[in-house]
Structures are given as C-alpha cells and as structure tokens.
C-alpha cells in the first residue's frame, strides 16, 4: 500500500499533535495515519507518551494543538455528547483489563451492546460468537475474579469488539501477563486484525514485537523517532516461533548467568 493510499483509507489520522502538561511536552508534533485494517505497534520506553497518544485517540483528553481524526470524528470539532458515539467505533483494552467485577463474563461482554439498546437476540448472537472467537464459551458464566490474567484480557478484547469497531486500541495489553499468555493475546490480536479490524497496540517491549513484519511506530520523548515496517516474510506461526526461540535463548542466557553467579557465591562447589 502506498503512502497516498493509506492516507485516503485511514481510520486514524494524527496531525501535528502537541500535548503539554505543565509546560512539559508529553507529545511533540506527532504525525501518522493508521490505514483501514492495518496493524501497528506503538513502541517506546515508559513515559514516551504512548498512553497519552492513545487517550487522545479515544478522546479522553484533547490535544493542546494539532488534530486527531478517528473515522468521521475530529478532535477539534467534538462536542461532549459525541464522545459516547466515538467510543462505540473504537474498541479499547488496557493492561489492567477494566472488567466489571459485579457480573459474569457473558454480561461483561454484553454490556457494550446493552448500553446501545440492542435487541436481546442480537446480543446473544454476537456475544456467543465472540465467546467462541476468544475461546471462553465454557467460562461464560464465571465471574472475572476467577479467571487468569490472559482470560480476563480475552474477555476485555471480546467486549471491545462487541460493537464492530473500526479499530482496536490496546494499551500494554500484555503488560501483566506471563510470556505464554502474552503470546496468546498477540495471536488473538493478529486474528482479529486478519478479520479486517485495524489494531493499534502500544507496548514498551520492543524486542517482543519486532519480529512480526508489522509496522512499528517508535515514540521517544514525545516524538516519532522512527516509523517503519519490519520485514518478515513467513506465516504467523513462523513469526511466533522466532519469538519463542528468542525467548528460549534469553532464558538460557538468564539461567547461565544465574548459574555463574551461584558458582561465584559458593566457591566450595566450584572447587569440586
């Protein structure tokens, strides 16, 4: 897809975005667009402005200057009453899942449709479909607190998708998860993306995401430091295999370091 094409079919446009907190620039002239159905990683160390940028996109905050365009919603022309309708076009997931702990998995997903006054059969149909999609149909009557982190995040993803959003925003969705669950979530996000939903995922873990052949926007000190497409040819499982290999290598290295450290601390064993 050429640059021009992407511009025309973008679901998100961010133009000369500035955000200033107490005379500190959290975001400084950020420009990019996310095309329809595109998958984009937003990486950068913590404090680089990733979360702030996402908040601007779901318009929890407005830019100090510049403009954010999401579908037909333009940040400079938003009225307070428009925000709920924007949120229905944008799915959002967080590191801490943000589930309602006073209702079961099914109701947590259904809430997004109940608030728009959807018909009961439509709700049942959609929620059942999503439960299967995220692999939690058998846990639909459980309460969130009985689920593992990965399962909770999958519930959150299902809820985010319930109203057919054009884009899914994910703010460190794997931040609280063990590597295996993180991989599952990433795999799920790829699957959702292959169904046509654009995904913008923020993460601080650069090494984790660079092997998938996706576009990466690298944010540093509130500026776009790098915006490139990683090149990886191959299937998703190949990519995940690479990640797993990297991880295993890292584990081996960790183990080696630990062993060496132990041997330094206990010279008796060393002398044997």
């Amino acid at each position: 897809m050429s640059e021009q094409e992407r511009e025309d079919r973008s679901v998100i446009g961010v133009y000369h975005l500035m955000k200033t907190y107490r005379e500190q620039n959290a975001l400084d002239d950020v420009n990019f667009t996310v095309g329809n159905g595109e998958f984009v990683f937003l990486v950068g160390p913590s404090g680089a402005g990733k979360s702030t940028l996402l908040r601007m996109i779901y318009m929890d905050e407005y830019p100090t200057s510049g403009q954010v365009v999401v579908g037909s919603f333009v940040s400079t022309r938003m009225k307070r009453g428009d925000i709920p309708f924007l949120r229905r076009r944008v799915g959002i997931i967080f590191q801490d899942y943000k589930l309602l702990d006073d209702r079961n998995v099914y109701e947590n997903i259904a809430i997004g449709m109940r608030i728009v006054g959807a018909a009961p059969y439509a709700i049942k149909h959609r929620v059942t479909w999503l439960l299967n999609e995220v692999g939690l149909y058998h846990k639909r009557l459980e309460m969130p607190e009985t689920l593992s982190g990965g399962e909770r995040q999958r519930v959150a993803i299902a809820r985010a998708l319930v109203n057919h959003p054009v884009i899914l925003l994910a703010d460190e969705p794997t931040g609280n998860l063990d590597p295996d669950s993180a991989e599952d979530i990433l795999r799920l996000l790829f699957k959702i993306n292959s169904g046509g939903t654009a995904v913008l995922m923020a993460t601080h873990d650069h090494s984790f995401v660079q092997n998938f052949g996706q576009r990466i926007i690298h944010l540093r000190d509130g500026k776009v430091f790098e915006d490139r497409k990683t090149d990886f040819i191959g299937s998703l499982s190949d990519r995940l295999e690479t990640v797993r290999r990297d991880r295993d290598r890292q584990r081996r290295i960790d183990r080696e370091i630990k062993r060496q450290r132990a041997s330094i601390l206990s010279p008796t064993r060393d002398s044997e």
Binding site: D60, P84, L86, K98, L100, D102, R114
Partner: protein, 289 residues
C-alpha cells in the same frame, strides 16, 4: 425503549444486590438522620394539633342584664348571630347555669342551698367561626357585643389569649429555626451517604464511559438506586418513630402518629431527596469525559 428501561432497572438492582453491605449501611445512616427529621415533624404536627384543639374550644360568654324581657333576649340573640364572626349562639338561662354549677360542684353542692335567690345571670355562649378564633378578632367582637343594649359583660379569657398568642409565636419561631437546622443536616447526611455509594462505583462509571454509554444511561440506574435507598430509609425511620411514639405514649399521653397521608408524603419526599442526592454526587464524575 422498554428494553432500555429494563436494562436500567436491572443495573440499579444488581448494584443494590451486589453491594448489600454498603447499601444497608447507607440506608441505616439515612434512616437515622431521617428519624431526627421525623421526630421533629411529629412534634410540630402534634403541637399544631394541640393549638388547633385549643382554638376549637375558644368561646365567649355574654352575660345579660337581669332586666331583659324575653323579647329583648330574642332580639339580642338575633343581633349577635348576625355578626360576621359568629358561628353559633346558645342561650343559657340562669336556672340552667345554676344546675350546671351544681353539677360542677358535685358533693359540695349543699353549699348552694344556703342561697335564697339564684345569683347567676342569663347568658349566651358564643362560638366564633374558625377564621376568627384568634386574639385580635376576639377582642374586636367582644368590644362590639359589649356595646349592645342589655349586655352586662363579655368574658373570653383575655389574659389567657394574650399569653396563648405570645407562646404560639415563640413556638413557631423555635420550630422554624430547629426545622431549618434539622432539614439541612438531614439533607447533608443523606447526600454524603449517597455519595459514598457513588464513589465506590467510580470504576463502573469509568468503564461504562469507555464502552460508549451516554450520560443518561450511566446516571439513571444510580438515580433509581438513590430513590430506592431513600424509600427504604423513610420506611425504616417511620417504623422506628412508630416504636418511639408507642413507648413515649405512656409518658406523654396526648401524642398521635402521622396520618397515612402525611406518612406517604414524608416517604415520597425521601425518595426524591435520595434521587437528587445521587444525581448531585454523580455530577462530579460525569464532568470527566
């Protein structure tokens, strides 16, 4: 439309069910402060009733000259009855008055046999209309009747009326001041109790906003919940008050509970206060986008 209301009610009662502890604490807090208000209102209600009773009993005694003929008495009867303020006029002959007096004395009635003649005059008992049962109107009416030919004297307990009026003014002043304080503090306590439940559900509000709920949808369940809490608190406080009046009726014999109508008005007011309190507490959280 129906579906939305179902959702809203479902939400309201889900939170009540889910947060039983917090809900019952806030209902108890509310009902105690409402009890304070109810005690005050009941006291006012009873005082007003007693004042009403005292006013009902207001009468004027018109004593006539002994020289009046039957015709003149009838003329006076008609004249007094024609006054705007007067409701009824009853003639009490001197013989009837003596008989009454004898009855009042009871066992001491023997004393009366010492009398050769009946010392009591003929008289009228005059009852004013309800609108005129107050000091100023009574004074004016008495003055006018006293002017009439054949009237000896008019008695209506002027000293008592003077005292009664000043006591009444005192009671009203105290009532208004105390009432103001009690109502204010009840509303304040209730608003805080409701705020407590709202704060405990900040996260729910945040999530509902994230998934795109409009403000009315977020607010409605809370308002219903506040109203339900207000209603329960009202019922609880009325029950408590009922128990208190039953117990204290041994000491203060002349105390009556609210009529059904007044109880319902009280409960309805509490429902409204609960709903408004909820809304006020929520407003802060709705400011955030």
């Amino acid at each position: 439309m129906m579906r939305r209301w179902l959702y809203i009610f479902d939400e309201a009662f889900r939170t009540v069910r889910r947060h039983k502890g917090l809900t019952s604490i806030s209902v108890i807090i509310m009902s105690l402060s409402l009890l304070m208000l109810a005690v005050f209102l009941l006291a006012t209600d009873n005082v007003l009733r007693l004042v009403g009773q005292a006013q009902d009993e207001m009468k004027m005694y018109v004593y006539l000259d002994d020289s009046n003929s039957q015709d003149e008495i009838e003329r006076l009867h008609g004249l007094i009855l024609s006054q705007d303020e007067v409701s009824t006029v009853t003639f009490v002959s001197r013989e009837e008055a003596l008989a009454d007096f004898r009855d009042q004395l009871g066992p001491d009635a023997d004393m009366l046999s010492a009398l050769r003649t009946n010392p009591l005059p003929n008289s009228f008992w005059v009852t004013p209309r309800n609108d005129y049962k107050n000091r100023d109107a009574m004074v004016k009416l008495a003055a006018r009747i006293e002017e009439m030919k054949g009237v000896d004297e008019v008695r209506y307990g002027r000293e008592f009326l003077d005292k009664f009026a000043s006591i009444l003014a005192g009671i009203y002043t105290v009532d208004v001041v105390v009432g103001f304080i009690v109502i204010l503090s009840a509303v304040f306590i209730i608003a805080n109790a409701v705020r407590l439940t709202v704060i405990s559900r900040r996260k729910t509000i945040e999530i509902l906003k994230l998934v795109g709920a409009t403000n009315p949808f977020i607010v409605a369940p809370f308002i219903i919940e506040g109203a339900v809490q207000g209603g329960f608190a009202a019922i609880l406080s009325l029950l408590l008050l009922r128990v208190i009046t039953e117990i204290s009726s041994n000491i203060i014999s002349d105390i009556t509970f609210f009529s059904l109508e007044k109880s319902l008005i009280f409960a309805a007011t509490c429902v409204v206060i609960g709903a408004i309190g909820s809304f006020m507490a929520l407003r802060r959280y709705l400011e955030m986008r």
